[in-house]
């Protein structure tokens, strides 16, 4: 066993190596030479971008690897026993009762066919730890501790019958049900809205503190881990970059990579200058729209933007931000109000617009994987709008595709590649090039950085900004990430339940006096200060600003 282990350690990972093992021998290495010790009651944050091996390490703590992966070296010692040497049955008993797992998406991780109570009680009952009645009573107690509504009856509901934030907490109850020694949190708040994230994070922290449970907390968000972890390990491409106390990592990181991660979260609090004297490019005037003439999803929304503007539309999921984009594009016809583009009214339906109008408004989607046809080369993908809108010869199309590739910082030789051969960030660049190929006046960007890693997303934002400076294109930038808004948008529209609650210049909207909902959103964005969560919770208790606006 490792020399660093001591009596207080509940989990000791020593020189862990995990490889992709395919039919044709070893593939890439996912985790290499990772060692750490976890004390009883201690929370260790694992942080890094996708591909850093965080989840792989978290799962290895349960003696589990995803299909095609294999633990090929090192030790994982839980309570003095190496998990790798356990029998399959011993490992099965360890899972759930020794080490328990909390996944990113509760909606996907709960079985839709059973009630929450059945699933929460499964581990303690099936592992023979508690009787069914005892497990139910304990579950109700956990629901109460996690601030779930109506704890007595909450368990009788099916997963689809409760909200995302509630389900995420129910998953914590499920993990805690058999009183494990270690909880593995795998990005447990990433899929939640910011305002929900605060509450769920607070519930998690309360739970592990009260039960004295040790935890591995996996996240890509340093500000989140700052609130909950005692120590932090920074990972990159399967290797440990830095391991230290949370305060040290956040305030005085030793490694360059950690410094960049920290800087990304801290940077950019200056507002962009206002555009002066430009005629409006797009005017949305008291527009309403609904699904199937029944559910009103956009309610009396007005906004304007000019050439060179970036208007950020922010709000939580279900606030109607993406629907607003669909209404402007014409995919969802508006029911009332008017949309003017270059002083001309746009027809409500996309199909009624002429080629020139279609060309001038382009769109970039959240998921480049889905938005790009995997069977087309980049030449086809980018060349298609050139051909469609401008009627060019093959040679001209080729020249234009190469020019566009240069603009998005990809080599010309990429033209013959397929999307599958590109990284996530490169695919999103191609989406941008495809939008630019139409030479639009306005590009609607729908959560274009949400699916990307922080640093990659940052590069995409910089690229968009540079292209705007060169081409004077306007952006309608839909996002739930308020951190990016300040940096890229000179105008902002805050949406809630289909209505515009605040709008105007970013400097005005994001400065006091705030609209209560804007304040709630802003105050929910995690900050790197370790006492941030306590402050927010204290503030909300004292002055329930916008209490009615908060989710249950």
């Amino acid at each position: 066993m490792s020399a660093r282990s001591s009596d207080g350690d509940i989990l000791v990972v020593d020189d862990l190596r995990i490889d992709v093992v395919g039919d044709r021998g070893k593939g890439p290495c996912l985790v290499d030479n990772v060692s750490f010790a976890l004390k009883r009651g201690e929370v260790l944050g694992l942080i890094g971008e996708s591909g850093a091996g965080k989840s792989t390490i978290g799962l290895a703590a349960l003696g589990y690897t995803r299909l095609g992966c294999s633990i090929t070296g090192g030790q994982i010692v839980f309570k003095g026993k190496d998990i790798r040497r356990m029998s399959a049955e011993e490992r099965r008993m360890l899972r759930g009762s020794g080490v328990a797992y909390i996944a990113q998406s509760a909606a996907a991780s709960f079985n839709p066919a059973h009630t929450i109570m059945e699933q929460v009680c499964e581990v303690p009952v099936r592992h023979g730890i508690m009787s069914s009645e005892k497990a139910r009573a304990e579950a109700v107690q956990l629901f109460r501790e996690l601030d779930l509504p109506n704890p007595e009856t909450f368990g009788s509901r099916y997963p689809h019958q409760v909200s995302g934030g509630q389900l995420q907490r129910a998953m914590a109850a499920m993990a805690m049900a058999a009183r494990p020694d270690i909880l593995v949190f795998d990005e447990p708040t990433t899929a939640l809205d910011v305002t929900t994230q605060v509450e769920v994070l607070a519930s998690f922290r309360k739970l592990i503190r009260e039960h004295g449970t040790a935890a591995l907390y996996i996240t890509h968000d340093l500000a989140v881990v700052a609130q909950i972890a005692d120590r932090i390990m920074v990972l990159r491409r399967g290797k440990m970059i830095e391991l230290g106390n949370a305060g040290q990592i956040l305030l005085s990181p030793r490694e360059e990579y950690t410094r960049r991660l920290v800087a990304e979260r801290v940077s950019g609090h200056s507002f962009l200058p206002e555009q002066q004297g430009e005629p409006p490019l797009l005017t949305v005037d008291r527009v309403s729209a609904s699904y199937a003439q029944l559910v009103k999803v956009i309610d009396n929304v007005s906004l304007t933007l000019s050439r060179g503007d970036t208007l950020a539309v922010v709000g939580e999921s279900g606030s109607g931000k993406s629907t607003l984009a669909r209404v402007i594009i014409g995919l969802l016809p508006r029911e009332s109000g008017d949309i003017k583009f270059r002083s001309e009214s746009l027809t409500p339906r996309l199909a009624d617009r002429n080629k020139d109008k279609l060309r001038r408004i382009q769109m970039i989607y959240q998921m480049p994987d889905v938005a790009l046809n995997p069977r087309q080369t980049l030449y086809d993908v980018i060349g298609r709008p050139v051909r469609f809108y401008f009627n060019r010869t093959d040679a001209q199309v080729r020249a234009r595709v190469h020019e566009l590739l240069r603009q998005i910082d990809l080599p010309e030789s990429f033209a013959s590649r397929h999307p599958g051969e590109l990284s996530g960030g490169q695919k999103q660049r191609v989406s941008i090039a495809r939008a630019l190929a139409a030479e639009p006046d306005l590009i609607i960007c729908d959560e274009v950085t949400s699916a990307l890693d922080q640093l990659v997303g940052e590069e995409i934002l910089r690229l968009l900004k540079r292209l705007q400076d060169e081409l004077r294109v306007a952006y309608l930038f839909i996002t739930h990430d308020l951190g990016t808004v300040r940096r890229i948008a000179n105008k902002v529209a805050v949406m809630r339940k289909g209505q515009l609650v605040a709008g105007g210049d970013t400097a005005t909207v994001f400065a006091p006096p705030y609209h209560p909902y804007t304040e709630l959103l802003l105050s929910s964005v995690p900050e790197m200060r370790r006492d941030w969560l306590d402050e927010v919770l204290a503030k909300r208790k004292a002055a329930p600003a916008g209490a009615a606006l908060r989710p249950a």
Partner: protein, 315 residues
């Protein structure tokens, strides 16, 4: 959910109605009509015209269709031309026999197929899984009459375990019937098990890739319990629809097996009636087959809807 079920019911009734139109139209375009079938060699243009008038065949097809449908709705399928008996009386024992054999095969085949499918899914890639797959694939690939004759040769003729002919009568007791129809039942079971078993295995394995299955593994749930309790309930919809298709086959598609075992079922009756131009019997058989097919598929749709917890327990 009730609205969805009501929709399915309405759709079923409409499909049945459309099927009745097709059946009537089909018998209408067959060469030779009822009158020529009755008169056979005595047919002269004059007697034909007279008989047609007697039977009301000179009236427009639409009128006759409405009349036929009205009678059918009252349970009157007309009279057989071959022996002048009431079609309902003629059909009743045949329908009973067909349903008996179908039910017999279904009661054995459905649990067997689902059980084997689940077992194969639990032991995916094992010897057991491969054997089950290969054997069921073989039984489905061999034509059913060939399978039937093989069974007759080995179990009836060589060893005499079971009777080679399933000549049940109205007087046969239940035990006798079960014994006499064992071989046709076995043939049908072997034909339909493969399809249902493979669908069960495939749907369960598709669900096994879901995040909630990984979660169950990480909760330390046993493999069999993961398959049976976590995957199977979510894999029901496609399994149910394949079961319904196979049950429909047991009623509608077994004429070859009936012929091999000389079993007095509905399929044989219909084939006889077609060769004899016995139009009322053909129409009645057609309608019964259509109704069975539609009813089973409709039930499958409704069960699939009910197996969805999102529809069963709305928000």
């Amino acid at each position: 959910m009730l609205r969805l079920i009501a929709q399915k019911l309405a759709l079923g009734v409409m499909t049945l109605f459309a099927a009745s139109v097709l059946i009537f139209a089909g018998t209408e375009v067959l060469p030779g009509d009822l009158a020529s079938a009755i008169l056979q060699n005595n047919a002269t243009p004059e007697t034909l015209a007279e008989t047609r008038k007697e039977l009301g065949l000179d009236r427009p097809a639409v009128v006759r269709y409405v009349e036929w449908l009205g009678n059918v709705a009252h349970g009157d399928f007309g009279h057989s031309l071959a022996n002048k008996r009431d079609v309902v009386e003629e059909l009743a024992p045949r329908v009973r026999n067909t349903l008996f054999l179908a039910l017999y095969a279904a009661i054995i085949a459905v649990p067997l197929a689902v059980g084997l499918g689940l077992a194969a899914a639990i032991r995916q890639g094992s010897i057991f899984d491969r054997i089950v797959n290969v054997v069921t694939l073989m039984t489905i690939s061999v034509p059913e009459y060939f399978l039937a004759y093989l069974l007759v040769k080995f179990t009836a003729i060589d060893n005499g375990w079971f009777p080679p002919l399933a000549n049940v009568t109205d007087e046969s007791s239940l035990v006798e019937r079960l014994y006499l129809t064992f071989l046709p039942m076995l043939t049908l079971v072997l034909v339909i098990v493969a399809h249902m078993m493979r669908m069960t295995r495939a749907s369960v394995l598709a669900i096994m890739a879901s995040p909630y299955i990984e979660m169950a593994i990480l909760k330390g749930v046993r493999k069999w319990r993961i398959v049976v309790k976590h995957a199977f309930p979510n894999a029901l919809a496609p399994i149910i629809s394949v079961i319904a298709l196979n049950l429909a086959y047991l009623i509608v598609g077994v004429v070859v097996v009936e012929a091999v075992f000389v079993y007095p079922g509905l399929g044989q009756l219909m084939v006889d009636a077609v060769s004899k131009h016995d139009v009322p019997v053909v129409q009645a058989c057609g309608l019964i087959f259509a109704a069975a097919f539609i009813l089973l598929n409709m039930s499958a749709d409704i069960l699939a809807i009910m197996s969805n917890p999102r529809l069963r327990h709305p928000r």
